[in-house]
Structures are given as C-alpha cells and as structure tokens.
Symmetry: D3
Subunit: 236 residues, 6 copies
C-alpha cells in the first residue's frame, strides 16, 4: 500500500534526531516514513592490521535489522550463516562514507559506523547512509584532534535515496510496498555538491531503457537536495 | 562512579514506556538509570519441532548488546563464536518468563522475546526481564485468541533486580561501576506475589555468608515490589 | 600496466569456447584478455524449498576464484568465513540471468551456474555473466523439455562489461591494472536489445558527475553490442 | 526412579578416586550414585593474552558429556553449534574454582580443568566442581613451584551439591529422576568453611518462597560438610 | 623411549575389559601399554536419511582424544575447525567395522561407535578398532532382535595393529616414541580369519621397498592373531 | 561400464600438459581417461608459524572438485562443514610430495599445491598426485634459487595409480564405474625408483587375502613405471 497522498516525485516524511541513549560519540535516529534506523559512530585510535603505518585512517560499517523491526519477526543474524543482502548493504555504507572522508587527514584512527534498523518499511540502506553521515560528523567533532575548530577531515556531505519504476512511473523514495511492486529499483548515493558516489540499478526480473534511467536520476537529484538540507539543519 | 545521591537501598530511576517504532505487537523501552533496553515480543502461530502436537506453547528469548551501547564500542556478535555471557542471559530471560506463563493455556503458539540493549550501564539482564514481561503482556493482548477479554495465559507478573555487596554493604540495583566493585553479585527474579523464580548469586573471586545473603534478599524484595508497581501502571 | 596498443574505447581480446572437459550440460571457457573463466550450467529437476508448488523455476549462481588464478596465490574460500566480494558477485550473476529467463516457462526446475575463475586479470564478474549466458543456453538446449525445437524460456541475450574513469578518461573493459588505477568503476549488464539489467557504478574514494556517467554508458553500449555478436556466433 | 532407601536429607553414595589412566598431573574419578565424571587438571606455564604481564594466573574449565554416558546416546558436541547448557556449566566450574584460588600467588600460569562425564544420572555439574577441586590440588602439588612444601595458592576447599523441592519436600543431591520431577532445583557451591560461592536456584515453570529457600539451604550445608570431609580424606 | 624389555616382534601389554560406568549397551576399556581407550556402542532404531527404506542398517564411528589424555594438554575439538587426523581415524574405524557386519541382517538400525581416548601413547586408532569390535558385539547381544540366540549379523571378528620400520628394523605395535622415530608406519586391519580389511602404509618423509613391506605384514599377522584370541576370551 | 577395449592390466589414456591459463608458476592439466585435474604449484617465501626459524621448507596441498565436474552437479564445498573425503585426499597429496622433497634444501619457503578436478571419472586422487609432481618441478625451476642450474631439492619423482579387485580380477587404474563395482580398492604412491611412499588398500564391505594383495601390487608397479616415463617426457 503506497501512502495515497504522496506524489511520485515527493520524499516520504524524513527526520534526523540525536538518539536519547547510547554511549557512542555519534548517535542519531533517522526516520523515512515508517522506516527507523539507529546510526551510531564510534572512534577507535587504531586501524586494521593491513593499514598500519601508512598514516591513514579507515571507515567501516555494519548493518543489522533488529528482530522486532518487522512483523512477522525477522530472525536474528547469528551463527556462521551470513546473509548476502546484509553483506552488500554494509559494504555499500562503508564505501559511500569513505568517498567523502579524507583518510589521510583522519590520521591512524578508525570510525566504526553501526546502522541498526528499528523499524523496516523500505529504504533502510538509503536511510542508513543518510543518517550515518550525520553520526560520523558528530563523532569527529567529539574527537580531541578535531574539536578545537580545525576543519573536519570530510570533503563534502553525502546522502542516499532510492528511485524506481513503479506501475510504469518513475518514483522517488520507495516504501516497502512500492519496492515490492517495482520493476526497477535504483539506489543513488550523492554528495551535497551533486556528484555521484554510487549508482546501483537493478531490473527485478525486468529491464529498463536509457530514458527511464534519465527520469529516475532526475528524481534522485531532487531527493538528495532535500536530504542534504535536512542534514545541514541537524548539524548546524 | 556511583550516583552520589542514591542510598544503598534505593532503586535507580526506572521507566518503562511503549517504543515509538517497531513492528512487533509488544514493544517497550525500559530504562534503569543509564541502562536502556528495547524489549519486543512477537507471536508466531507455531512451536519448535520438538513440541509439536502437545497442545502447549513456548516462550523463547534472545539478548543482544548493540555496538554503540558502550564506549569503547562493543563488537557485534556475529559469526560462529557465540559469547557465553549472552547465552546465559537469554536462557535466564526465557526461563523466567516461562515460570509465569501457562503454556497449556497459551496453545500451540510461540512468543519470541528480543531484548536489545541500547545503552549499557549495569543491570541489563534484570532490566530485560522486567521489561520483557510488559512486552509479553502487550503482545498477548493483541492476539485474537486473548484480545476479547478472556484472561491472559499468565499466572502472575514477574520482575528482576540485582543486589550485591559493595564496599561491604548490601546494595540494591547495581550500576556498572558498582557491579565492577562488588565482591558479591546476585540477580533475583520474583513474581508480583513475592515468590522466587530465579536466584543467582556469585562471589566474584570472593565468598559470602548466610547473614549477607539474608540482607541482600531483603533488599531485593523491596526493589521488586517497586518494579511490580511500575509494571502495573504501564499495563493499566 | 595497460596493453599499450588498445585504445580506451576498445574491448580486450575476447573469446568464448566450449570447455573440452566437464560433465555439466552447459560448459564454456570465456576469455577477456588474460582473464579466463570456466562457466558451467547444470539443470536440476527441482526448485528451492521456498518455491515449491508455484510452477516456476529458478536460476542460481556461484562464483569462485581458483587459488592458482593469481600470483601470489589466492587463498581458497573454505570454512565459515565467507568473503563479501564473492557474495556480491554471485548474487549479481544470478540476478542478471533471471532477468532474461522466463521462470514460468522454465517450469519447476533449477539452473545452477558456476563461474570458476582460472586466471584473473580484471573484469572477472563481467566475463562470468557474458559466459554464463552461453552456458545457460547450452544447458537448456540439452534439456528434454526444450530440445525438440520449442522456444527456450529465454527472452533475450545478456552480456556485461566494465567501464571506468582511468587517468580522467572514460575507458572500456578495464584490466586489473586499469581497475586498480580507476577513480570510478562501473559494471553494466545489458540485454542484446540494448536495455539495462544492472548498473553498478562506484567512486573509489572519488565521485563522478552526470557528464562522465553519460560517456561511460555510451562506451558500455558499444562493448555490449560486440559481446552480443560474439555470443550469437558461438550459439549459432 | 529415586533410590527407595535413601532419605530426602541424605547424599547419594559418593566416591573420589585417582584415575588409573591419563597424562594430566591432576586426574580423579568422582562418583555420585550412578553419575561418574573424570576430572583432570593440567598446568600451562602461560596465561591468556588479555592477562599477560599482570603477574597473575588463571583457572579455566571445560565440561563435556561423552556420547555413551546416556542411553539413548547423546550426540557429541562438535561443529559450530555450541550448547547453551554446556557453556553455562563450564563457566560455573571455572568461576567457582577461581573463588578459592589466589591468582596472584599462582603466578603467571594457568590451570585447565576438564570435566568429562562418563555416566550421567543427575548432578553432573556439582560432581564436577567437587571433583575438580581435588584434581586442582593434585596438579598444584605436582608443580615445581609448589611441590617443595610451601603453601598452595588455595585459600579454602570448595564443593557443590544440588538441592530441590521434590513432591513438595526439600531434597538433597537429586538424581536424574528427582531432578526431572523437581519443581525447584538449586545448585549450591560452598567453601569448606561454609561460605557461599555460588547459589543458583531455578523454579522449573514454578516458583518458591522464603521458607522453602531456607529449608533447601540447610540441606545444602549438611551435604557440603560431608563432601568436604570426603575431599580431605582423598587429599590426605 | 621404547620399553626396553619388549622385542620388536612382541605386542605391548594389552587388555580389554568391560567399562565400569556408562549407559551404552556396549562399553569396554581397551589398553595397549599406556594407551587407553573407552569404546562404547549404542544402538539406534533408525538409519541415516539417505539409507531409509532399503532394509539395511549402518555402522558409524566417532573418535576423540580427551584433553587430559596427553601432557601437555590436548586442546578439545570444538568449534568449526575440525581436525583432519580425527576425520581420517573415525572414517577408518567405521569402514573397518562395516566390512564384517552384515548390514542386511542388521536391519534398519544403526550402531554408533564412540572411541574416546583416555590416555594416548601411540596406536590409538588400532586400539580403537580392536576394542570397538568387542563393544559392537556386546551391544548387538543386548538388542532384542539378536538376544534370543539367533546368530549375530557379524561375519567375522576384526582387529587392528600397527607395524613400522624403526631404526631400520620391522617393529610390531609402535608406542608413541617408536611411532615418532619410525621411517615407515603401517596400520593393518584384519579379520579373525586372517584376511585384510584395510592396509595403510605411509613413508614419513621416507619410502620403503617390497621386502620391508613383506616383513611388516608378517609381523602384523602375528599381532592380529594374538589380539583375536584376546577378543574371543572377553566375549566368551 | 568399463571401457570394453581396455584390458585389466592397462592404464587408461593419460596425458599431462601445461595449462594454457593461470598465474601460478607451476600449472598443468592431467588427464586419465575422462578424469581431468588442474594442478597448480605456487611458491611462497615463508613457512607456517610452527616451522619458523628451522631453516626448512614445507609442501602443502589442497584438493577440490568443481561443481560442473560431475553430473548431477556436485555441491561446492563452502561453509563450516568440511567433507571428510576431501580432507583425506589433500593430506595424502601433501604427504606424498613431502616424501620426495628435501625440505632442508628447499629452505624457508612453501610450495602450495592446488588440485582442482575439472572432470571426475574415478582416480582423481592418483591423477592429482601424478600431476602435482610435475607442477611442483615447474614451480621450483621458476624459483630464482633453483633456476640457475643447481639441482632441485627433489630426491626422486613420484606418481600414483589405483588398483583393485573388480569382478574377482586384479585391475589397474579404475574408472568410476570400476571403482563403484570393486570389492577392493587400493591407491599406491611410488617413486620413480620403484619404492613405496603410500599404500592404502580398503575392502569395501569386503576383505582380501595375501595373494590378491600381491597381484594388485604387481599391477601398480607396471602402471607407475609408465606414468613415470610420461612425467619425464613432459619435464624434459
């Protein structure tokens, strides 16, 4: 069921707010319609073994859906069997953030991003990226090296949104029902300056042509611009 | 650092509130001082294979700490290596709830409890049990079989609190710093009627005598009575 | 080191040939420059449990690099630790093929695609998809249900190629050295009719704009057209 | 089937004897009725990585039931799936022993306790703890640092016994049939001096009151006193 | 250190005796010098899924060394990492017993053999096979289908012994020190009638010629004959 | 179905040829009838941790069947469950090669052998060993330390062949159908000089006597001599 009052080129209702609990220096709750994600960012004064001694930092991310985030309940990911979808999403989040972090300026420290989905109604990966950027900035601001007013080791903001072909129409920011019905599903990650970081379009047992691609990308630009403004407000 | 203004026989500040997100029929957020746990309860119309055909239901529980619940960050429990502490706690939660659920009256369905720690400052297992009882009742009330006004398949309420010997003094509801300093640590699970369900006392490289045991149990009775009143308010 | 004589808009030397060994009904060896992949397709007269009774078939894929395909040797993927990159690639291969297979017409049977990399010099996932399509058709032709001249349950051909921004220039069909040097890397999966199936573009700690995207997509169209012709020759 | 001639406040027939085989410096066979456990203690001149350089030692324990210890056969615990009950028991054994070992006086070495159940008829964890103490002392006596007559780094003896409510009556040292029938089951670990180390009481889908608790603890004191005497005889 | 008084063509001191504990219907303790193995045999009235409906039975075996069986302590085999040596040995034990069990006459039931090494001083796999045969017969005799006097579903007895080239001399029944020093190590499994079941000879970074092979096989025949007599005594 | 024209004392058609792809310094394709194996040998300038500082090298081997090597498709070995047969075979390959490599002369480096079965029709382990020897020599010749004309750290050649009792007749080099029908199956690994390295004979729910053993060994000698000649030609 798509929300009847929303037009195909409008975002769902989004909010990004500080999380009222947690111990990580960066922690926010991002909402996109009924999708809710807790994004935390923790700083560690070390890097993975394979990066030691290069004077560079690292950003990594983990993604997880809590069992109560869906009904029926989603089984918890434990044990040796790792879900492929989870792997894909958390790799995407980490890669996206690294595109706008200056790893040399970060120095030999790591930022660990955790995106835990509290309620899932479509677009959890784009909400995660959009929220994770805010948590990352919060955490960096709390780091002694960057809290004195020097510039953060971040070159631009980053946000993400989904677009797709639903009932033959280019549609922005799909909820679960729209995503399920979509013939094409595309996730777009862009900087605040409007440059692409990631583009992942998938025909779900379907295909799409160049014109449809152009229409979807245009919608994504609109959505990202709104989300970028929202991020600026929160961080101001 | 213990909170200076709290006396050794007082609970921390507790609250139990409905969670503003999530899809599970039962979902609450319980706070005990700075410890915060999201407890959800989901109903499945089936039982584990080894219980089939007996006409009885089952209650199971999982416990998890989110990575951002502590600083420094707690590594996420994934992969084949399962933490012994986690196993102990989730077994305790499930066993405690089964003590007050009438499994025959529940019928061939399962209640899955999930306790995800959002912030950890000691007493996460007792907060989990105390909150899980409320989420369980919420979930049962939403079940068609029990939503028409018939009695729920629950014989009493249940709550839990920790007590310990800190600096030689019997102390109620230990936070992390107190737990770390305690020579003896005891978790007490009791019904609303004041009967024991579980009693787990541990000398941490230390021992305790019968008199100390009696003093700690007396404090636990006081704490449980307060938590039982809090639960009744939420469920009223 | 890129091959000096190849221009930025030219494919590497490609070939697709029947594999001279193996027992699977579909089996080919695809080469793209020094990248070599053995693609086999096996038919099973059953579907995964969650698809039973729907009258539809399924296509699944696995991807693997043999240890001797690189120097130094690549550790064999065994044991509980599954590599995220492998997961992503095999999900991409399976999804791509399902986009052009008519699962209803396939009936309740599965096609298992295996892409084993014999030598790796960049572009192993695009070579795998391009070769897997040929092995899939071979295997379907050998199936009694489809070997009598009826149409195969396939709506179009499918092929894949990589494009990227190397030294600031849009470049087609990246080898390992080019891929390593690329600021942007994009994998494009298209049908023989020129429609998109998958589009995965990634800024490697970099970003790209709309103009660069357009230039890369134009190169991809050229490359896919050539590969489609090669596939038709092999299957004729 | 409970042994008819045993009164509710009597121990089963217990024995602790040196094991006639094995290579570990501490090795005994403990019997409690038909429950038989092989307890070995091995010394390693190192500590776990997280304890290095602190000048302290460590005591760890593993618990295991041999497949032939029950009929029908108990599946061997191998592979990634670790049983929660096993985890709980071996953590209890290790924690109990550490309560009476002076880890500083032990020095930077580890004692590894292994409790392998040869026949299981209830009370395997209490037999394990009671036997493990004896094996621990044997092993320490064989260590060059402690074999010259200096005091062992052990502050007291330790023993364990179960008590429970069976058919409404407080009962000591439950065998399997009694344990199965018990409404309440409690494991008590005490020192030779009569101080508590661990207290784990569980209502099995039941609850218990303060009076029942007191009666069970009184029985436990009696039982522990007898077991302590038995340990002294063996070690004399 | 080889036992000085034993000649190269003599067995170590062997014994096979009923185990004084355990619940499995077949259970013996076999000793070969200082090597001690507990062999149990359990009967299950079912067969593995892949054998159902064929009217045949199955014999399977597991092998395990207890941590205290060696000094220094042998790490317990748990978790996902399975030791290759263990796998080899338990496959050998199972295969050897199946060679002399009439699986059709056994009917649709399974015999599970467990060989748990209590003390290891070389030759644990040959002691396991020799003892497992006795436990198997014990267990079959306890099975209602075979306990009435009908012939057991066993065509012959089976025993195993090691031989090797030690200091250039063919040697029977190697203990650990001899095994370590041996250039060639061979395990021979034979029936009571003197026919080969398994022959596994290995040059340990060495090789052997036909003459040495003949000398070792002659010794194995002698050893097996003695062990067969010992088995008959126990089972008489 | 055995190939009708081959007599029981003749090898199948064998070939050993350089692999036309791959990056490992040693890489050959060995064929024995319809069995085809890719054997690669990679050199690493390090040894396993437990061998460091001894001045000696190591040879290790892995064995794997590709899914398309059989029909129906063989499931890929991934995940925590490791197949016992695979473990046995790769241990055999490594042990066999180490018998003819002078590990001291090799120096502190490792040779990693990978045997990937491209088509399986019986005798994959013997083809693997026979081919791996050739790949090993190729790889050593490419190593700077040995490429200048000094002798390789190899004391002899090594080859392997299977023999068995099929339809009551001693038979050489069993294909899959013969292996399935064989009452006895024996793998023989020998040096070029005719000395035994490994002898593994198994009665498949059957037994064999000394005369049959002698006949099978005689056939193995013949087969190994032919394979040794083939290896010399390839390496000349």
């Amino acid at each position: 069921m798509t929300t009847p009052s929303r037009s195909a080129d409008a975002l769902r209702a989004w909010s990004i707010e500080p999380a009222p609990y947690g111990a990580a220096p960066g922690r926010i709750i991002v909402k996109a319609g009924r999708t809710t994600v807790l994004c935390t960012a923790s700083i560690e004064e070390s890097v993975p073994p394979w990066m030691k001694g290069q004077g560079k930092g690292w950003v990594t991310a983990e993604y997880n859906m809590l069992p109560g985030s869906t009904a029926p309940r989603k089984g918890r990911e434990r044990g040796p069997k790792i879900d492929g979808r989870t792997t894909e999403i958390q790799r995407l989040i980490g890669r996206s953030l690294r595109a706008i972090v200056n790893l040399e300026a970060l120095g030999e420290r790591s930022v660990a991003i955790d995106c835990d989905v509290l309620e899932a109604d479509g677009g959890t990966r784009t909400a995660s990226i959009t929220g994770a950027y805010v948590a990352l900035v919060q955490a960096l601001r709390s780091t002694p090296s960057f809290s004195g007013g020097e510039p953060l080791p971040v070159s631009d903001s980053i946000a993400a949104v989904s677009v797709g072909m639903v009932d033959g129409r280019p549609t922005l920011d799909l909820d679960y029902a729209q995503d399920f019905a979509a013939a094409v599903d595309m996730n777009v990650v862009m900087t605040g300056a409007g440059r692409y970081v990631e583009l992942q379009g998938t025909g779900e047992e379907a295909t799409f042509d160049a014109e449809q691609l152009a229409a979807m990308l245009a919608l994504a630009h609109l959505g990202i611009a709104e989300l970028t403004a929202l991020q600026r407000n929160v961080l101001a």
